[in-house]
Amino acid sequence: MGAAPQQASPDQRVAEFRKIFSRAESEVARVIVGHREVVRKMLTALFCGGHILIEGVPGLGKTLMVKAAAETLGLSFKRIQFTPDLMPSDIIGTQVLTEADGHRDFQFKPGPIFAHMVLGDEINRATPKTQSAVLEAMEEHQVTVFGTTYVLDPPYIVLATENPIELEGTYPLPEAQMDRFIFKVVMGSPKPDELREILNRTTGTAQARIQPLFEASRAPRAIEDLKALVREVMVAEPLERYIISVIGGCTPGGPGAIPEVSQYLRFGPSPRGAQALILCAKVNALLAGRVSVSYDDIEDAIVPCLRHRLLLNFQAEAESVSSESILEQVVKRLRKPRT
C-alpha cells in the first residue's frame, strides 16, 4: 500500500487520497474512541502542511491519538513535555563536545523537535522563551543552532496541547505563535457509551494493533505527494472573495465587520487565517470527491481555522463572549458572492 505515483491519473490520485485519509481515520479510531472530528482535523492539518493546537483536559488520549496517527502513517514521532524549566536547547538540540580519534569537536545533537510528528504537551506551561524556540521550526521547518541551520524532514507537524484548567503558572501562548497553528480543536469529554468503549478497550487483555498505511521509508514521500494533491484543488474567484470577506468581517474596523466584531475583538485574523481556510477547504473538497472548493467546505473550516486567531477584548471576556459565537454571527450575516 502506498500513495499513487505522480504518473497516476488525476482521478486515481484523488481516489487514493480519499482512501488513505479514510483508512487513517479508521486506524486511529481503533485506538481512540470518539473524537472523530479531532482526528479528522489532525489529519487535515497534516495534509495541509500546518500544525494543530489541541485544547483539552488531561487524560483524554491526546498523546495516544497523535502517536496512533504517526504509527498509522509510518511517520516518526516525538513528544515534548513542556514545563516551566524547559529550555530551548532541550527542544531544538544543542552542540555537544565529543572526542573522536583524539580530536575534540562539537557535534550537534538534535532535540525532540526533529521528527515528523512532534507532540508538544501542555505547551502553555513553558516559558515564552522556550515557546518561541518552536516558532522557527513550525514556520520555516528548520532550526538554527550556533549559526548552523538544520532542515526538518518533511512532512513536519507540531501538535501542541493546552490544558484549559490549572492556568496558574502557565504562560499563555503569544498571538504570533497562536497564528502559526492552522487549527485549534477542542477535545471534549467522551460520551457515556464512548467512555464504556474506552474502558472495554483499555482495561481488558485485548490490545488494539494499528496497521501502518505506508512503510516508514516511503511514508514521507507518499504524504508529500498527497499534500501536493491538496494544493492542486481549484478555487473559484467568487469563493476566494468569500474567504476574504470572512477575514474582513472578523477584523475590527474591517470591510463588512459586524457590530459584534468591533465590540468584542481587539484584533482579527491575519492572512494566515485566509490561507488556513483555503487549505482546509481544499482537503474538505477532496474528501467530498471534488477537485474544487465549495462554500460548504469553507464554512466547515471557519471555526477551527479562525477561533484562535480572534483576540477578544476585555468586554468580551467580561461578558463571556466566545470567539466561536462571533464567528457564527459573521458567517450568518455574510452574503455569499455569486460572481
Binding site: V14, M234, A236, R290, S294, R338
Partner: protein
C-alpha cells in the same frame, strides 16, 4: 452537448436576454398605462363631465394628455436603456455558471470550471488550471448532461409584471391627482359648448346627409367659439348665428320633405275612408306652419299642414292645426316629433349660448356693480333688446312636452343683486327659457322699523334675551330737593325706540335660548 463552455455561453446569452426582457417588462406597464391614459384623457374627461359634473379644460387636458404620452415614451425609453444595461450586466460567463451551479446544485463546481475556462478571461487565470482540471471538465459535462437551457431558464413574467403594475398604479395615481388638480367646475360657456357638442355628435351620428354634417360642423365651430376666450364676442355671436341659420336651413328642408310625406299619407287615408276629419297634427317644431287647414270631413285632402307654413319660422309660435287623416298622422307624428324635438333643443341651446355670450360680453364691458344697489347693473342679457323671433329659442307651447316650467330654467339667467349671477344651476331641462322677462329687483333689507310702523307682535317669551335699562337713581341736593342727575350719559344721536324688525329665525326651537324659568313669572 459535449462542450460545457458552449453550454455556459448559451446559458449566459439566454440569461442576458431574459434579464433584458424582465427589465423592459418593468417599464412596459407604466409606460403603456401613461400612454393609454394620455390617449384616452378626452374620454376620461367626458366621463368626469357626465358623471361628476366637473370638467377638464380642453387646453389643460391637452397638456396633461401630452405630458402623459411624453412620460410614457420617456419610461419606454428608460426601459430600453435599463434592458440594455441588464443585458450587458447579465451577459457574464461566470455569473451564468453561478446561476447554473445554483440550479443544478453543483457545489460551485460549475463556477470554478467557468472561472478557469472563461474564454474572455486573461491568460493568468487560465494558468491557474491544475492537473485536476480535466476532472472538473468531465464533471461539468456530466452535470450538463440532461440540461436544457431553454427549459431551465424560462421567461417568467409574473414578478416583473407585478413590480411593473405597482409603477403603473403609481402612474395612474399621479394621473388621477393631476386630473383632480386640473378639473374645474365648468363655466356656463363650457356647459353650453358641451351641450352643443353633444347635439352635434348626435346629429352627425344619426344623419348621413351632407346638410346635417355641415350643421354638425357649424355647431361644433360655434361650441369651440363659445369656449375660446380669445375670440371677441362678436365673432362668437357670428358663429352661433351661422349655426342657427344652418339649423333653420336644415329644418326647412326637413319640413319640405315632411309635408310631402303628409300629403301622401292623407290621400291614402282618404281612400281608405278612415279619416274622421279632425286630426290634431302636431306640426313641425320649427314653427314652419301657422296655417290652418281642413281636410274636409275625411275626404283625405290635406291642404294644410306644415307645408303651407307662412315661413315665419322664427316666431316660435306654431298654432297650426293639421287636420288630416287620423291614422296616418299618428305614424308620422313620432318621427317628426323626434326631429322637431332635437331641432328645438338645438335652437334652444344655441339661443342660450348666444345669451351667454352676450352676458359675458356685458359683464366684461359693463360698469362695475355697486353692491347694495337695488338695480341690477350687471351684464345680464336684456330681454328688451331682442325680441326673440327666432324659431327654437322658445319652444312651441302647443306641443306636448314643451310647456315651459316656470322656475325650471327661469332663474338661470336672472342676475342676482350685486351683479353676481344667482346660482346658475342648469337643471338640464329644455322645456322653456324664461330668462327674457322676469327680472326681479332686489330690495333693501330693512333692519329697523320706521317710526310709527309697528312690526309683528313680539312674543317676549320667545325672546333670545331681554335688555332692561334702569334709570339712574335721582340724587338729592343739600336742600332735600330732587335734582336731575346731569352726569348720567345721554344719547347724542336721535334714535327711535322701535322694536327690531322681525327676522327669520331658522334656528330650531331647541336652539333658541329661552328665558330661564325663574324669570318667566316676571314676564307678562
Amino acid at each position: 452537448m459535449d462542450n460545457p463552455v458552449e453550454t455556459i455561453g448559451i446559458a449566459s446569452a439566454r440569461i442576458a436576454r431574459l434579464a433584458a426582457i424582465r427589465a423592459m417588462l418593468c417599464a412596459v406597464a407604466p409606460a403603456l398605462t401613461a400612454i393609454a391614459l394620455g390617449a384616452l384623457l378626452t374620454q376620461i374627461g367626458d366621463v368626469t363631465w357626465t358623471r361628476l359634473g366637473y370638467r377638464l379644460a380642453p387646453e389643460r387636458g391637452t397638456v396633461l394628455s401630452l405630458a402623459l404620452i411624453g412620460a410614457g415614451i420617456v419610461v419606454l425609453a428608460a426601459g430600453l436603456v435599463m434592458a440594455f444595461r441588464a443585458y450587458r450586466r447579465a451577459n457574464d460567463f461566470v455569473a451564468a455558471a453561478a446561476e447554473l451551479d445554483e440550479r443544478l446544485d453543483c457545489d460551485q463546481e460549475i463556477v470554478t470550471f467557468a472561472t478557469l475556462a472563461d474564454p474572455s478571461a486573461p491568460e493568468s487565470i487560465r494558468a491557474r488550471r491544475t492537473p485536476l482540471f480535466p476532472i472538473l471538465w468531465r464533471r461539468a459535462i456530466a452535470l450538463f448532461g440532461g440540461l436544457d437551457v431553454r427549459r431551465e431558464f424560462r421567461l417568467e413574467v409574473g414578478e416583473p409584471l407585478k413590480r411593473s403594475s405597482i409603477f403603473a398604479g403609481m402612474v395612474a395615481l399621479a394621473m388621477v391627482l393631476a386630473t383632480l388638480g386640473l378639473v374645474r367646475a365648468p363655466t356656463p360657456e363650457n356647459t353650453e359648448a358641451a351641450k352643443l357638442r353633444a347635439i352635434a355628435e348626435e346629429i352627425a351620428r344619426t344623419s348621413a346627409s351632407s346638410d346635417d354634417s355641415a350643421l354638425a360642423d357649424k355647431i361644433r365651430q360655434a361650441a369651440d367659439a363659445i369656449e375660446n376666450s380669445k375670440l371677441p364676442p362678436e365673432e362668437k355671436k357670428k358663429r352661433i348665428e351661422e349655426a342657427i341659420r344652418e339649423a333653420d336651413k336644415a329644418a326647412q328642408k326637413r319640413n319640405n320633405s315632411q309635408s310631402g310625406k303628409n300629403q301622401g299619407t292623407g290621400k291614402s287615408n282618404a281612400q281608405n275612408g278612415n279619416g274622421n276629419g279632425k286630426s290634431q297634427g302636431q306640426g313641425n317644431s320649427a314653427g314652419a306652419g301657422s296655417g290652418e287647414g281642413k281636410s274636409g270631413t275625411g275626404a283625405g285632402q290635406n291642404p294644410g299642414g306644415g307645408s303651407s307654413g307662412s315661413g315665419k319660422s322664427a316666431t316660435g309660435k306654431n298654432s297650426g292645426k293639421n287636420e288630416g287623416g287620423k291614422g296616418s298622422a299618428k305614424n308620422d307624428k313620432n318621427d317628426q316629433n323626434k326631429g322637431d324635438q332635437s331641432n328645438l333643443e338645438l335652437h334652444d341651446e344655441l339661443a342660450k349660448a348666444e345669451a351667454q355670450v352676450e352676458t359675458a360680453n356685458a359683464k366684461n364691458s359693463g360698469p362695475a356693480n355697486q353692491p347694495g344697489e337695488d338695480k341690477n347693473q350687471g351684464g345680464a342679457s336684456q330681454p328688451a333688446d331682442k325680441t326673440n323671433q327666432k324659431g327654437g329659442s322658445q319652444p312651441d307651447p302647443n306641443r306636448p312636452g314643451n310647456i315651459p316650467k316656470p322656475g325650471a330654467n327661469g332663474d338661470r339667467n336672472i342676475p342676482a343683486a350685486g351683479g353676481k349671477p344667482k346660482n346658475n344651476k342648469d337643471m338640464g331641462s329644455n322645456l322653456g327659457d324664461t330668462h327674457l322677462g322676469e327680472m326681479p329687483t332686489s330690495t333693501n333689507a330693512q333692519r329697523f322699523l320706521k317710526p310709527g310702523e309697528k312690526g309683528a307682535t313680539v312674543d317676549i317669551r320667545d325672546a333670545r334675551y331681554v335688555m332692561f335699562r334702569l334709570p339712574g337713581a335721582p340724587s338729592s341736593g343739600n336742600g332735600g330737593k330732587t335734582v336731575l342727575d346731569t352726569d348720567r350719559p345721554t344719547a347724542t344721536t336721535g334714535y327711535v325706540n322701535a322694536p327690531l324688525a322681525p327676522t327669520s329665525d331658522d334656528a330650531p326651537p331647541d336652539e333658541r335660548q329661552l328665558v330661564p324659568p325663574r324669570y318667566r313669572d316676571m314676564i307678562h
